[in-house]
């Protein structure tokens, strides 16, 4: 078909970005971020509703299901803004759970859930990781056993974001222990009110509403399976690729905020009779942050473009996540250093980013595991 190289965002994407930035500046100021960090629900219904009205939860939902029908790059644009704003909401969770529905959901399931997701009436949480703390199929030991009435799920999920606010959990469970793990996993949506389901919050450095979720003989009807029996892992793998690139977009947004605010601070803050931004050391710190972020950014956009096109992206997603995680961590570390004491306090916003950068690093693949995946992909 042949392309036509263009490294700009579209006009529509720029509008999406401006709208999102304005909305978040108005509706989700940092005072509210701090408030929500202390709030166990992780969720503000009024703002959630407005986000739905803006079409955010429906952004990647096809128009046939009352969505916007946007692409993956559109999503990246939006996530840059939520990352920049430190949005506290089950938006990321719900969005990444939308992918399996799109990829593997039955027409019935799509008809039920997608319009409700788009309307902001359905919050989803991904119940994938376990005490094994890994994103491999082998790390999934929660089992779902077939019974007359459906499946009985038993096991403990850990690090489950937004389970406390979710209407449904997307549970990844082992349905066949004889086969290799990649061929014995199935997906279920589980009503959050199910009997036997226990949600215990896990406090984290980013106050990002993680939970331990215990499945104790939780019964789910057969119709709650998404995709084929034992065919769940390829769906999860694609979800993870997209989640890792999506997480990178949040990090870009955060890192942009950090670099911009450090530059502004360096121009204003006077020590030794000059703005600190006139000192060579500070200039070089900032030049390096800007350069590293500028480089990492294109790894993310490239991976996002591949996903947008539906092209294979395992290598590029690992590339982006490994690098962006480290760049964000470094940017926030230097961000605090440039600001000095004030940057270490809860009174300044820098700490919000410092903590989030450390939280984002292991999510959907640590830098080490991403590099190992990349090494594998290039035949090492």
């Amino acid at each position: 078909m042949g392309g036509s190289m263009n490294l700009d965002f579209t006009e529509e994407q720029e509008i999406l970005r401006r709208t999102a930035r304005d909305f978040l500046a108005k509706e989700f100021p940092k005072t509210l971020v701090r408030e929500m960090e202390e709030d166990a629900s992780g969720f503000r219904a009024d703002i959630w509703k407005k986000m739905a009205e803006l079409g955010w939860m429906g952004l990647i939902v096809p128009e046939d299901y009352d969505g916007i029908g946007g692409g993956f790059i559109d999503l990246l644009v939006l996530l840059e803004e939520t990352g920049r704003a430190c949005l506290v909401a089950p938006f990321f969770s719900t969005t990444i759970c939308t992918f399996p529905l799109l990829d593997a959901g039955s027409e019935d399931q799509k008809k039920i859930f997608l319009p409700r997701i788009a309307a902001g009436e359905e919050i989803f949480a991904l119940a994938l990781t376990e005490p094994t703390a890994s994103y491999d199929a082998a790390g999934v030991t929660t089992k779902a056993t077939g019974e007359k009435k459906g499946y009985l799920i038993n096991g403990t999920k850990l690090f489950v974001h937004d389970a406390q606010a979710a209407h449904h959990l997307l549970c990844v469970a082992r349905t066949n222990f004889q086969s290799p793990p990649e061929e014995g996993i199935s997906l279920f949506f589980v009503d959050a009110g199910s009997q036997g389901l226990k949600v215990v919050s896990l406090p984290t450095i980013a106050d990002d509403k993680q939970n331990e979720v215990v499945f104790d003989n939780v019964l789910v009807p057969e119709g709650n399976m998404i995709g084929e029996l034992n065919g769940g892992w390829p769906v999860v793998r694609r979800l993870l690729e997209r989640a890792s690139v999506a997480k990178c977009a949040e990090m870009i947004g955060g890192a942009d905020w950090v670099v911009e605010n450090c530059i502004a601070y360096a121009k204003e803050r006077v020590q030794f009779g000059k703005p600190i931004g006139s000192f060579g050391i500070i200039q070089h710190y900032l030049a390096q942050m800007w350069t590293e972020l500028g480089h990492a950014r294109w790894l993310v956009y490239y991976a996002g473009w591949l996903l947008d096109r539906g092209l294979p992206c395992a290598r590029e997603a690992a590339t982006a996540k490994a690098r962006m995680s480290e760049v964000y961590r470094h940017c926030t570390r230097m961000g605090v250093q440039i600001l000095g004491g004030i940057g270490t306090t809860r009174e300044h916003d820098m700490g919000l980013y410092y903590r989030r950068a450390r939280q984002a690093l292991p999510l959907f693949g640590s830098p080490d595991s991403c590099r190992e995946k990349l090494a594998h992909e290039i035949g090492l």
């Binding site: 990781t129 005490p131 703390a133 890994s134 491999d136 082998a138 850990l158 690090f159 896990l202 406090p203 984290t204 450095i205 980013a206 993680q210 331990e212 006077v270 020590q271 030794f272 050391i281 961590r329 570390r333 605090v336 250093q337 000095g340 004491g341 940057g343 270490t344 306090t345 809860r346 009174e347 700490g351 410092y354 903590r355 450390r358 939280q359 690093l361 292991p362 999510l363 640590s366 830098p367 080490d368």
Partner: protein
């Protein structure tokens, strides 16, 4: 060259170790070290109870002359005590103790030494630090808090910031401008006083929700002229005497070494994908590199202390010691979090959090320690100017 301690020093180390091991057992749950002392009542009570025992043993002031409550030992003994206490995370030395003591020992009058040092040796004073201001951080000499003579007193007005531990303190030391017409460093004076009317603190909450720092508002706070340490307008040098001493602090490296040992233990006991972390080549390399770093930091601290015993000016070495260990501790905390993966970001309060979430707390604290008491950048400047003789511009 001889790296072996004297038999007396070895004996002291054994005494210190036995004491600290015992005291460490009494630490509150999730105790992560001295920075937590001021935060909770429980932590503060623990700190005070340890300090009183330490004072009773005479270990707060091992190298001071006996006439001021000291033991007449050398700086090496003091260093060993600091090392052991920090390693066992026993909050054995009150905050700012070394800074104020150094200033008084070097610049105080005989009368002041007799007044303040024995009280400090008995751990009767909890100091708050009144140095930095909102517009005088790295550029401390820009401070604008004023002290104006009024009869036998000075009346101090201004605002301080980063007043660590003030909410537990009973005394404060303040660097204030007593002569605005002199060059910046030359018009400052160092005051010590009991906290009283005219001093107000407002909490300045750290990014991890801890309350260590405060803002301090000083409004007509009266201090007797008797409480000027050193001469009028000599305050900068009094302050530097203390800071230089504090910068050589071995406790940074000793505490970090203990944290590293915890991480090593974790790697020995934790499996990932069916293999112990400690058997993974990548992790072995990282841990070994940290072992090397802490070994270097501790050896260097002894080197600095050795130079001090010979009366050498160690401003540059002390700056190197401090920034190296602070940067190292920050790297350790971040690497530990990374090795622990998803578990690494959990905070205490969950049964799933390794070491009660210590390393993520340290990753936050340490980001402040490369700033507090002299940023890494300022310390490198001190090295360049003082140690290497490079031009100040």
């Amino acid at each position: 060259m001889d790296f072996e301690f004297t038999p007396e020093q070895e004996e002291k180390r054994e005494d210190f170790t036995a004491f600290c091991k015992e005291e460490a057992k009494r630490a509150p749950e999730g105790w992560i070290g001295g920075m937590a002392a001021e935060e909770t009542d429980e932590g503060w009570a623990y700190h005070r109870s340890v300090v009183e025992k330490v004072a009773a043993k005479g270990w707060l002031c091992l190298p001071w002359p006996k006439e001021y409550g000291g033991q007449g030992h050398g700086p090496i003994e003091q260093l060993i005590f600091s090392e052991v206490a920090a390693y066992y995370r026993v909050p054995a030395i009150p905050m700012h103790f070394m800074t104020v003591a150094a200033g008084i020992l070097m610049y105080g009058s005989e009368e002041q030494k007799k007044e303040w040092l024995p009280k400090m040796a008995r751990a009767e004073i909890n100091w708050a630090e009144g140095l930095s201001e909102p517009n005088a951080g790295s550029d401390l000499a820009a401070l604008t808090t004023t002290a104006i003579a009024d009869g036998d007193d000075y009346v101090i007005n201004g605002q301080k910031v980063w007043t660590s531990g003030a909410h537990r303190a009973d005394h404060i030391f303040i660097l204030a401008r007593t002569d605005p017409n002199l060059p910046r460093h030359k018009g400052l004076t160092f005051f010590v006083n009991r906290i009283g009317p005219g001093i107000e603190f407002r909490p300045l909450i750290f990014m991890n929700r801890s309350h260590l720092y405060n803002e301090t508002f000083i409004d007509d706070f009266r201090v007797s002229k008797r409480n000027i340490i050193g001469k009028l307008n000599q305050g900068w040098y009094v302050m530097m005497a203390g800071r230089n001493f504090a910068r050589a602090n071995i406790s940074l490296a000793a505490a970090g070494k203990r944290d590293l040992e915890d991480l090593i233990e974790y790697c020995k006991q934790t499996q990932e994908g069916g293999e112990f972390l400690a058997k993974k080549p990548l992790i072995r390399q990282r841990l070994a590199d940290f072992v090397i770093d802490y070994e270097a930091a501790l050896k260097f601290a002894y080197h600095v202390c050795w130079l001090q015993t010979k009366g050498k000016d160690v401003a540059a070495e002390a700056a190197a010691c401090g920034y190296y260990a602070n940067e190292l501790n920050l790297r350790l905390a971040n690497t530990a979090m990374e090795i622990m993966g998803l578990y690494g970001t959990l905070k205490g309060g969950s049964k799933w959090a390794p070491f009660c979430g210590k390393f993520q707390e340290l990753s936050q604290w340490s980001s402040g320690f490369t700033i507090a008491g002299g940023t890494t950048e300022i310390r490198k400047n001190v090295i360049a100017w003082t140690g290497l003789g490079l031009p100040r511009d």
